[in-house]
Symmetry: C2
Subunit: 272 residues, 2 copies
Amino acid sequence: LKLTIAFDGRAYAGWQAQACGTAVQDVVERAMSELFGGAHRLHSSSRTDSGVHALGMCAHVDLPSLPAGMEDRKIRLALNARLPEDIRIVEARRVSSFFHARFDAVGKEYHYQIWNHPAMNPLLRNVAWHVPQQLDVKAMREAARFLEGRHDFRSMAANHGYHIKDTVRTLHEVKIVRKAALLTVRISGEGFLYKMCRGIVGTLVQVGRGRFRPSDIRRMLEAKDRRVAGMTAPAHGLTLHRVLYRRGAEAMGRKAPRDRDEHSGTEEAEAE
Amino acid sequence: LKLTIAFDGRAYAGWQAQACGTAVQDVVERAMSELFGGAHRLHSSSRTDSGVHALGMCAHVDLPSLPAGMEDRKIRLALNARLPEDIRIVEARRVSSFFHARFDAVGKEYHYQIWNHPAMNPLLRNVAWHVPQQLDVKAMREAARFLEGRHDFRSMAANHGYHIKDTVRTLHEVKIVRKAALLTVRISGEGFLYKMCRGIVGTLVQVGRGRFRPSDIRRMLEAKDRRVAGMTAPAHGLTLHRVLYRRGAEAMGRKAPRDRDEHSGTEEAEAE
């Protein structure tokens, strides 16, 4: 079963269980147990950090069998009836038993919202970062272009204790959309390091305030040192917008993939 | 002093003091007293109902004098420092002492948000109405055209105990904007009756669900009876977007208007 999940990250310590706080994963697994009985382990496309939101988080769960006559639509309704209002199953769908929410993912898209006005919009205070100073969006867009493509993003990501060998990632697009006072930074890429999106947005905002020049981005990436780049933007502006899967990954009757092992090494790095 | 005010209506019993609950007006007046000393009475463009939000509510307050050297910007910052996070002064501006937030208003624009998807978006659950059934937006747009112009809106508004003589209002535009699952109904007009926007949106949604035909709107307006129209949409989807003022109404050195008396009769009707 493939689940597409949306949640308001405010009340949670991220997707996966941490030392303290409730994890979104635990709450969804509990709803699965209530509905189907037994214990169920969700495998997600990625983790999200404490306070980060999601509209299109994906996860799969292996179920030996589903109750006869229970349509996908009914599973979604039954799960939502067992979940709090701040977590919603957007879609539940039977997919190939070989489908893997993490290993079959080929890309992700994050949206970061910034309210760029002297006074905060009270209706967006939980989903956007308030930046009261005027931002030079043209400079931010110029800087964003240096981030697109294949780079070592060590300078933009948090280290988080454990050692990551491979910090090279490919970003397809870093796009800044302005609609009145609302700036949305859309970042899509193959994979993301821990706190990489927030490091990118924090740095872009500092470009917008004149603290860095757009061309400084190149120097930052080359330095491979977190200290040379800008600040980390707060978690509550970030939303995992969607996860992209390889063609046919969900198709019923799909054969077992042979290339699974080579992916497992990236597990610890795939978190924002 | 003219104030433009944004607030998240969830925690409040509307703009003006009711029998129970906190009114937004009281909270802003208290912040004014803290800042300037003494008691200050805010005169607003309109009232909003319990739970309704605002991004561009306008109000004025008569101040005998402002502290020397206190710029408009500083007044805004000082007031925001004394207000809770769910109420923000978007702008504070010295205007003509003849400016009146209600009598000089020539129009208002409300936005009503609908999340039209089987599962609610948890990030919008406090600012949009969840309509899970598929809506025929084309039929809704056709129905909306019957509402534009000058009509007696008695059938769309709540009676609310007191008697209103004149229920004729002019709507400039009723526009439905669709962006993926998010429908926004933008309603702009000269004036609004109590719960009129929500009556209009509830009726339009019932047109979208096939309960009424678009042409039924004409019959509903002619009936002048609330019972023939559709349901009242919930408060939390509605936002007072902005208030429009007559040209030059705020200009310093403006002369006293002569036509104030004729407006005062509409006071009780100007509430949504």
